[in-house]
Structures are given as C-alpha cells and as structure tokens.
Amino acid sequence: MQGGTRLGFVLLLTPLLLWLGLLIVIPHIDMFLVSIKERVGVGEYDTSLANYGTFFAETLYLWTFLRTAVMSILATAITLLIAFPVSYYIAKIAKGRLQSALFLLCLVPFWVSELVRTFGWMILLRETGVFSSLLQWAGLADQPVEMLYNDAAIMVGLVYTSMLFMVVPLVTTLESLDNAVIEAGYDLGGNGFSVLREIVIPHAMPGIVSGCIVVFMLSLGNYLTPTMLGGKDSLWFTELIYAQFIVRFNWELGAAFGFMLLILSSVIVWATLRLTGQTLRDTLG
C-alpha cells in the first residue's frame, strides 16, 4: 500500500518536474551560459561578464529598461483603476445572466490573436482611421488627427491587452466578499469611501496584488503592442532583446539582456510586495 502511494505520488509529480526542468530550468541555465560568453573573434569566445557590462555601460539600454519598467507600472496602475470598478460591478452589483454576460464580454477580445487585436487598434487610431474620421465628421477637427505611433497609443494597447488578467482575479476575490460584510460597514456608520478603503480593498488585496503582478509582467514582456502601436519612438526592452537575437546575431548580449529583464522585474515585484506589506504566500492563497 505504502509503495503504491509513493508510486502514485511520483507519477503525479513527474509531469510537473519535467515541465519545470525541460522548459524552465534548463533553458535558463543555457541562456545564462550563453550570456557569459564574449565574442573575441570569428567563431571564438571567452567567458566573461562583458555583456552585463555593456548593459550598464551603455545608457541607452538601461534607459530603455527604465522606460519600459515605468510605462509598465503606469499601465498596471491604469489597468487596476479601470478594472476595479468593472470587477466590482460584475462581482457585486450585476446578477445572474447579466453577470455572466459581462464576464464573457471581458473574455471575447481574447478569442482573436493579439496581433489581430493590435491591428484593430491601428485601424481605429490611425490618421485615416475611424476615430480621426469621426472627429472630422463631428466638426471637432478640421484635418486628419494622428493618434497612432505615440506613448499614449502604447498605453491604450497595453491596458486593453491586460484587462482580462486584472479582472479575473479581482472578480474572484470580490465575489468571495460577503455582501453582509459590506452592509455591516455601512450599518456601523461607514460611507462609500471608507467602506471601500477599510473593507473592500483590504479584502481584495490578494486579487489586486496577483492581478498587478501578472499585468506588470505581461506589459514588461510584451513585444507586439509597443512595436506596432508605438512607431518610431516605441523603445521597448523586449524589442532590444529581439534585435540582439534576430537582427544582430548577438545572442550573447541578447541572453544577458534577457537575464537582466528577469532579475530586474523580479526585484521590482519583490520590492512592491515589500512596500505594500504583502507576501507572495498571501497572494497565492
């Protein structure tokens, strides 16, 4: 019996270990090994940290990373601000079929690929696009308006792409909040703001944190949206990594960039958790 249980345990654990090992750990080790190689001549390599040196020495790379991180944090904050009332409405105010219909509406955009969704935004925002034509038709603009190819367009795209990943954990945690607890908050003299601040937000904190982590990581690692909507000034860190790997054939520097992205984003998430007094364990439940 004992042996049987152990065998079952091993069988259940194997896929997880294989997945972790083959798809996560080994590629990262390999990437790290690539990142500490330095090209000294045609087909000749030395082991050194020169690639990491390049990252810190060239202000352009560091600057791009900082810009990407700040934009991602901003996108996360905006997503949270928009998703919170939406989630609250879905979880607490909408009932029955309306509730499931609204939830489905949040899901619908994800039935098409990210590429198609981004193209959709391009059609809306471009100079000869829908919004520009509408503005001219309404007499609010006397010539075509270009709304594409700037940071605001990137932000719109990122927030749109991330919305679901914020709404789902928020709806889940908000649904678990007993309506009576909210009513008790009012009953004991609280107003809308204080109930939100003292009861709803503390209760939803695990959902807020996990949603924010997911959205931040997705934004930081997004490639399509910033490149396509950002135009000539997009400057996204993943673009740099792509360029190093594919365009420059400089895998060594690309791998170092990839590692820096991993480390720095982990540091940002860790620091935010510390600052807000949350732990990863609380968040995961």
Partner: protein, 356 residues
Amino acid sequence: MTCKHLIAAPILGLALAGLAQGAGADTLRLLTWGGYAPDNVVEMFEKETGHTVEVTKSNNEEMIAKLRATGGGGFDLAQPSQDRIAGPQAEFGIYKPINLAMIDEAQFIPSMLAATIANTTVDGAAYGVPHIWGTSGLVLDTSKAGMVKDYTDLCDDAVAGKVSYRLKRPTLIGFAFAMGMDPFAAYGDEAAYKGIMEKVEAKLVECKPNVKTYWSGGDELMNLLRSGEVVAAMAWDTGGWKLNADNPNITFVAPTSGALGWIDTFALPAKGQADEAAYAWINFVMRPEVAAMITEAAGNFTASKGADQFASDALKAQFTASFPPEAVDNIKWYPPVPAGLEAIEGGVLDRVKAAN
C-alpha cells in the same frame, strides 16, 4: 494461398514502399521568402518528382537565427541573400558547400551565377547559387512627392511627417550612398566604416521628425502608402509595382545615387537531410517557364536564363519605367557582409531609435 502468405504479402509491400521512400521520395523542408514557392509550382514539383515540399516563410535575419539555433538543422534548403552567406558561414558554420555538378548551370544567367558563387565562397567552397534578384529604392506617390529623387530627399520639409523607411541596414547603406559616400568600399576597413555610419546616424537622427513610423512589414507599408498617410518611402521595387497596379501615381523610382541590388540564393543548411530533393527543386524552379510562374507570384525577376520571355508584359513595362538603362548600370549590388559589421550597424540603429 496459405496463412503465411497472407501475412507476408503486406509486410513485403510495406518494406518495398519504405525502400522506395528512402531512395526516391523525400520531404523537402524549404526555408524561404513569401511568394518564392507558390502553390502551383509546389504542386507541379511534387507531381513530377514524388517529393513533398514543406514551406516555411521567413526573412534574412530569421533564417540565420533559426539555422544558428539548430546548428544548421531543421531545414533542407534555405534562401538567404547572397551578401548574408559568407559572414554567418564563417561565424556559425550553418551551411554545407554546394556541389555545382548537381546543378544544371545552363539554366542560369552566367554573369549572375558567377557573381553569386564568388560572393558566397568561404575557404574555397561555394555555398550559394542565385535564384531571385531585385532592388530596393524609393516608392513614391509622384503626385505629392515628385521632388524626392534620392534617399536624403526624404528629410525634406515638403514631405514632413509623410515618410517611412525601415530601421535596418539597407537604410544605412542607402543613406550613405545618397550622402556621397561608398560604404561597400569601406567594408574591409572597420574604422572607415564606423566613420561613415556615424555620419549616417547624425543624418537619420536629424531626419527623424520627418518620419511617420519605421515600417517593419510589407503589408504595413502598403497600407500606409495606399491610405495616403505616407507619400514617400524606402522600399522594395515589387511593393511599388504592386501599388502601381491600383494607383498609377504610386510607383517605384530608382534613386539617383543608385538602387541597391540584392540576390536571394539557394543554400544548403549544414544538417539538411534531403540534398537530392533540394538539388531537384533548384533545377526545377530554374526552368524558364517555372521561373516565370515564380516571377508572377513574387513580382521579381529570377536568375533563370530565358525566363524574361515568359514574364507578363505589364511587369516588363513597370520594370522599364522604373529602370532606364543608365539606372540598371547604376544598381549597387551588395557585396558580402564581413562578420562583425552588424555590431556597428546595430549600435547606430539603436541610437537612432532612441533619439528624440
């Protein structure tokens, strides 16, 4: 018939079929550009030879990256540009030499074959034979940007905000020529090349406000030109000719400093497993009538001798309109890129992108 025969017969049949597969019919995994292996050509080839063809569409950089990742495996035939073979081969060893005896040399335009072989030779072995050639230059809406004659004119105030080009090496090379320098001559001299690139960088940064966006895909550029959001762009000749069919004002113009000529080749990945099928494909698509079908699909001419007479009159007319005889002579053919130059260009491109 006895029981034994009943079992033996299918097994024998299977074995024979397997042998036939091994000897005659292979799967050809082709790594190529969009339009270079149209369905009708693939179908004809499969019917004639019994091989099957799996097409993967890509571009120069991705081809090299993919082959580098596998050490030259995963594909049996690749089609990088002739200037991008020698460098990566020396650096990563991702190709194997072409056995010219297996190629029907008579089907090729001799000058183009000789030039390609010369440019793709590493350590005495040839790694590529030519397939399709074309140029990049200017695609203009002549009614609105008729004053643009060369790449540097893209920075003119008259077309401010309505210009697009790629942020890639052809742009650097094109601007260098337009600014009166010869980057190809400086290929061997890293310091001189760096000097040229610094000047180009300054020009591109200065020119940046004029640019609407840096295009990255052919469809994206087509949309920009078609909608009139962009009136002047640096692009491939075929793009201009395709738009010309819809809107006669838009066409491809060879810049005064010379269009940049490229030749896409056939090269064998180092770990390719179907060389025989690869050679069969090369010889098949270089037949003049087949080459003409590919020209129809891709929009560019091939290195196949005698294919011109099968090409459509419309395409020929567009070509002559864009390329008066002196412009043909002025085409700057890309010499092989020495390994390491990409690092210099990469820095320039990064800084241009980051500039405000």
